[in-house]
């Protein structure tokens, strides 16, 4: 550490430019002191800037919130602080001039925004009018522009259409609005061709821009949490360029806002996409002065070259890029202006570069979450050899500590199977950006869409049937005519004079299902008609039978093909559904808490325990999970008896080992996970009996801990009996366990399970699912019943029933999931049964009542005896067990924490 006393900012700085450290070790003491002084000054300056920046940011947030509240009080519903951005954009865009007189931007943006935020109509008209007013326009230009704005705002806000219904209509509306209003003003003031052409040009521009702005606004309003598509990136860049147009004439002394913003945009583009993006952005930005006023477009070349140089200097960090940008800009300006350069050029460029240097790292990491940052290879082959010398910030560092920790956390927990993704692809590889998740998300979503498309195509695309249309039949008649009737003397009569009679006869023959085995007996009338018309009835019938059999065979295979196609379509659709469910939850990220890790390690050292690879994660729900490895335990159950109480004491909340158990002094060591234990615990009793004559029961159960101190109880009854039913229910529960462990919420997990069960087999099989999820902190529970019978809760001797039911899983494309909430208390008994238990009672009306009374009569409060007794009573109801029976009983208890201090010790 070269300069330990200089605080955090300086530490960050030395990390950025590591070559300082190398130099420091090699230089003399006076030089070191000078450098220390300079670096100290530099760090203080940066700190001052950061403080000012933070004040500014907080101040803006405060103003935004206050304004939002004030506007809401004025009656504008749903006003958000972020709407200030739209209003400000409206003001700026309204100021944007093209060719010195056209104003297409304000109306286009107003129209695009109001499609998504119709409530802002009044405020947007005000803000755009304010922008126009600031331009000091001639009164007729000002008023016709305001009239266009009012017309557009009133039409759009009064038309109740969904945004997706506006895509074609809106540009046309904007075009028509401009043409109508401006032409009316033109006619009023005296028509001339030049003005007419200007109006048409402005109207077309506004229409096209409105479509582009809609893409950008749609992303801001509906998809701003997601990765931007290429068209959204382009639309946003164009919107940004238009904004620069709007502020291009604002200046203070020697500082003009337009060039400052232009420099900043070019530098950010170069940082984002390297030399290519930098020069492209430069060319676009350089075009703006020529668009605004009729000037020579020399700025295109200046900015394009500056962007190119900035991108090429990317390997040298932001400072290098700024130098490259300034060099390119100044050299070309000097060249083009024949050696003269003034402060009006120099100051804005320098300011833009300084602002770029001061942009916080978080800005780029935020940018990276929406726009895939071009990281690898963009440093350019030209500078590959110098990179180790000058680049000190690796990609993860540039993302900021928080993001890296989140990414690491995802990677590491994924390794343990919670999120189902291995860490090697994340932490080990180069793509550790948080954007990785967003990209995966987008890819999965696209894959799901693609599978849906394939499924729809398969469902629609039917093979043409041989029985459809006349072609196969006409072919058949031609064959018959050619082969059988060729030599017949009556051919002309049958196929020419009485063609329709013959045709009808053969059609009737085919429609009665062919003539096979019907020559002698049936249908009599038909045979009589054949004999009356044909000289060779037997040959005719044989021929028709052959053709009919062939057609039947074709039809059979066609049906099989259709079935296969339908099945594949169905399975592809199911797979798309599973992917969609995964995508919905793939954004889950966890946060690593290093401060807690340090505290635990400190505490463990006091106990003389060495925990390896300790990681503390906060899950999206706020609950903590702790992972560590141990190789040095001397006593069995040491984690239970010493570590858990210590961790509980440090963190101030109950923890338990998950899953419970101890491998002892295993040489390979243990990998332990501690999860929040909650205030409550659940004790389980289970009793199962197979149907008479069957070796195994079709009923299965599952009890598991869920993240966030929750407990899952599940009972499943497979369709049918015996091993097939057992396989169905076991498969359903196993899948359910995997899906819930992957972190999906219950409802989505049930939907995913349904889709997967449908994929498993084309046969009509299903499984019932009786789920209870208990929150062990507060006792709140939710019952999900998919084709499952009534559940019972016994509290202080009284029994209540819970009987909301949805169809079972694995047979229908869509399942409706209805949960029923119940607050559980310590001492409550929950009883889940399968239908076999209730069906043991003959009379329908008394089934649930009988089980309720039986449960009430049982005095025991221990789950296992209660389960056994309930099963025994059900068995006693009939002489024969007609269906599998299962009883799952759970008792809610107070959680007894582990460790020496509670007396809850486990001894070998």
């Amino acid at each position: 550490m070269p300069n330990g006393g200089d605080g955090r900012i300086f530490e960050e700085d030395t990390n950025v430019y590591t070559y300082y450290r190398v130099d420091t070790s090699a230089t003399s003491a006076p030089k070191q002191r000078t450098r220390k002084w300079r670096e100290g000054l530099f760090s203080r300056l940066i700190r001052l800037f950061l403080v000012i920046f933070r004040w500014g940011k907080n101040g803006l947030c405060f103003i935004g919130n206050q304004t939002g509240q004030a506007v809401s009080k004025l009656g504008v519903k749903g006003f958000r602080a972020s709407d200030l951005f739209h209003l400000l954009t409206g003001v700026i865009l309204a100021r944007g001039l093209v060719l010195g007189e056209l104003l297409p931007f304000g109306g286009a943006y107003l129209a695009a925004l109001l499609v998504f935020r119709p409530g802002l109509a009044g405020l947007m008209v005000l803000s755009t009018t304010l922008g126009l007013w600031s331009l000091s326009l001639p009164s007729n230009v000002f008023w016709n522009q305001v009239a266009v704005l009012i017309l557009l705002a009133s039409v759009i806000s009064s038309t109740k259409r969904k945004p997706e219904q506006w895509w074609i209509l809106l540009p046309l509306l904007v075009l028509a609005g401009h043409l109508l209003v401006k032409n009316a003003f033109l006619v009023w003031n005296g028509w001339n061709l030049y003005q007419e052409i200007s109006i048409i040009f402005e109207a077309v521009m506004a229409g096209v821009l409105c479509l582009i702005f809609m893409v950008a606004v749609q992303w801001m309003e509906t998809r701003h949490e997601t990765v931007m598509h290429s068209e959204e990136i382009m639309a946003t860049i164009i919107l940004g360029a238009c904004l620069i147009l709007g502020i291009s004439d604002l200046h203070w002394q020697h500082w003009t806002l337009g060039p400052i913003a232009a420099s900043l945009v070019v530098l950010v583009a170069a940082y984002w996409g390297g030399a290519g993006a930098g020069s492209a952005a430069g060319a676009l930005i350089g075009l703006l002065p020529s668009v605004t006023y009729l000037v020579m477009p020399y700025a295109v070349g200046v900015y394009a070259v500056s962007g190119l140089l900035a991108g090429l200097f990317r390997a040298w960090g932001r400072l290098g890029m700024s130098i490259g940008f300034l060099l390119g800009n100044l050299l070309l300006t000097l060249y083009l202006s024949e050696g003269s350069i003034n402060r009006e050029i120099l100051y804005p460029l320098g300011s833009g570069a300084i602002l770029f240097l001061l942009l916080p790292g978080r800005f780029f990491s935020r940018l990276g979450t929406h726009v895939p940052i071009y990281t690898q290879g963009s440093r350019g082959r030209l500078f590959t050899g110098f990179v180790p010398l000058f680049t000190s910030r690796s990609d993860p560092e540039r993302l900021g500590e928080d993001e890296v920790e989140a990414a690491e956390a995802v990677a590491e927990t994924g390794d343990r199977g919670r999120l189902g993704v291995t860490s090697k692809g994340l932490a080990g590889g180069e793509g550790t950006d948080p954007i990785w998740w967003k990209l995966v998300n987008e890819r999965l979503r696209n894959l799901s869409r693609m599978l849906n498309e394939i499924s729809a195509t398969l469902e629609k695309g039917k093979t043409p049937s041989v029985t459809e249309g006349l072609d196969p039949l006409s072919g058949f008649f031609e064959d018959l005519k050619g082969e059988l009737c060729r030599e017949c003397s009556a051919q002309r009569v049958c196929w020419e004079e009485d063609f329709y009679v013959t045709y009808r006869l053969f059609l009737d023959l085919l429609s009665t299902g062919g003539a096979a085995d019907k020559t002698s007996s049936e249908p009599e009338e038909l045979m009589l008609r054949i004999k009356n018309r044909c000289l060779y009835p037997r040959d005719l019938v044989q021929q028709i039978n052959q053709v009919y059999e062939k057609m039947k065979l074709q039809q059979y295979w066609q049906e099989r093909i259709e079935e296969g196609r339908g099945l594949v379509a169905h399975q592809v659709k199911g797979l798309a559904g599973v992917l969609n469910d995964l995508v919905a939850e793939a954004h889950i990220q966890v946060q690593r808490i290093k401060t807690l890790e340090k505290r635990i390690i400190r505490e463990m050292k006091k106990l003389g325990v060495n925990l390896e690879h300790l990681r503390v994660y906060r899950l999206p729900g706020g609950e903590l999970e702790i992972y560590y490895q141990r190789r040095d335990c001397s006593v069995k159950y040491d984690c239970h008896n010493r570590i858990v109480p210590a961790v509980t004491a440090v963190l101030g909340q109950q923890f338990k080992i998950n899953p419970a158990g101890c491998a002892g002094q295993d040489k390979a060591g243990c990998e332990i996970c501690l999860t929040g234990a909650g205030r409550l615990a659940v004790e389980i009793g289970i009793a199962i009996r197979a149907e008479d004559g069957c070796a195994c029961s079709g009923d299965n159960h599952l009890v598991m801990d869920l993240p966030g101190a929750r407990q899952l109880l599940a009972l499943s009854d497979g369709m049918g009996i015996g091993p097939i039913a057992a396989e169905n229910s076991r498969f359903a529960l196993n899948l359910m366990e995997k899906i819930l462990r992957a972190g999906l919420p219950t409802e989505q997990a049930v939907r995913a399970l349904n889709s997967l069960l449908l994929l498993r087999s084309s046969e009509e099989t299903f499984a019932t699912l009786d789920l209870v999820i208990i929150n062990l902190q507060n006792g709140e529970s939710e019952f999900f019943k998919m084709g499952a019978p009534t559940a019972f809760v016994k509290r202080k001797g009284k029994v209540t029933q819970i009987s909301s039911t949805s169809p079972p899983v694995g047979i229908l494309d869509e399942v409706e999931i209805v949960g029923q909430k119940e607050k559980l208390e310590i001492g409550d008994l929950i009883v889940l049964v399968t239908d076999g238990v209730l069906d043991s009672r003959f009379h329908v009306a008394e089934r649930e009542a009988w089980l309720g009374q039986t449960l009430q009569q049982i005095e025991s409060v221990d789950p296992q005896p209660v389960a056994d007794q309930l099963l025994d009573r059900a068995l006693a109801n009939s002489s024969r067990v007609k269906d599998d029976m299962a009883v799952l009983v759970a008792r809610i208890m107070e959680f007894k924490s582990a460790g020496w201090n509670t007396g809850n010790l486990i001894e070998e």
Binding site: M786, T805, P807, D835, V844
Partner: protein, 115 residues
């Protein structure tokens, strides 16, 4: 197990007599499917008044036909199940998917509403 079919317009009325369990589920399924294809019906009215017992295999037959007709854009209704059978249907959530009617007129009215 005994099945009676009666096709009118687009509706296939199927009366089931006996038990709908593992032993009878497959023949019932095949017979109904064959008849639905033959009659090209998109609606099925399943008369359960003669069904004395139904288990999960029987429920599978009903849910399978419902799913099949749904994909065709058709409908299905159940008619006059006995109390025991009705309770099982309720327990399986089938009454949420299709109406369980007490009269044929009511069921036909529901099914013809499709047109």
């Amino acid at each position: 197990m005994n099945l009676e079919f009666n096709a009118t317009q687009d509706i296939l009325l199927t009366k089931v007599k006996g038990e709908m369990d593992l032993a009878t589920a497959e023949p019932i399924r095949q017979a109904i499917d064959k008849r639905l294809q033959l009659e090209r019906s998109r609606c099925l009215l399943l008369d359960l008044s003669g069904v004395s017992f139904i288990d999960s295999s029987g429920l599978g037959v009903i849910l399978g036909r419902y799913q099949y007709l749904q994909r065709l854009g058709g409908r299905m209704a159940l008619l006059k199940p006995a109390a025991g059978v009705k309770r099982v249907l309720e327990m399986a959530g089938i009454d949420r998917l299709m109406p369980v009617c007490e009269s044929e007129g009511e069921a036909i009215k529901y099914l013809t509403r499709l047109k």
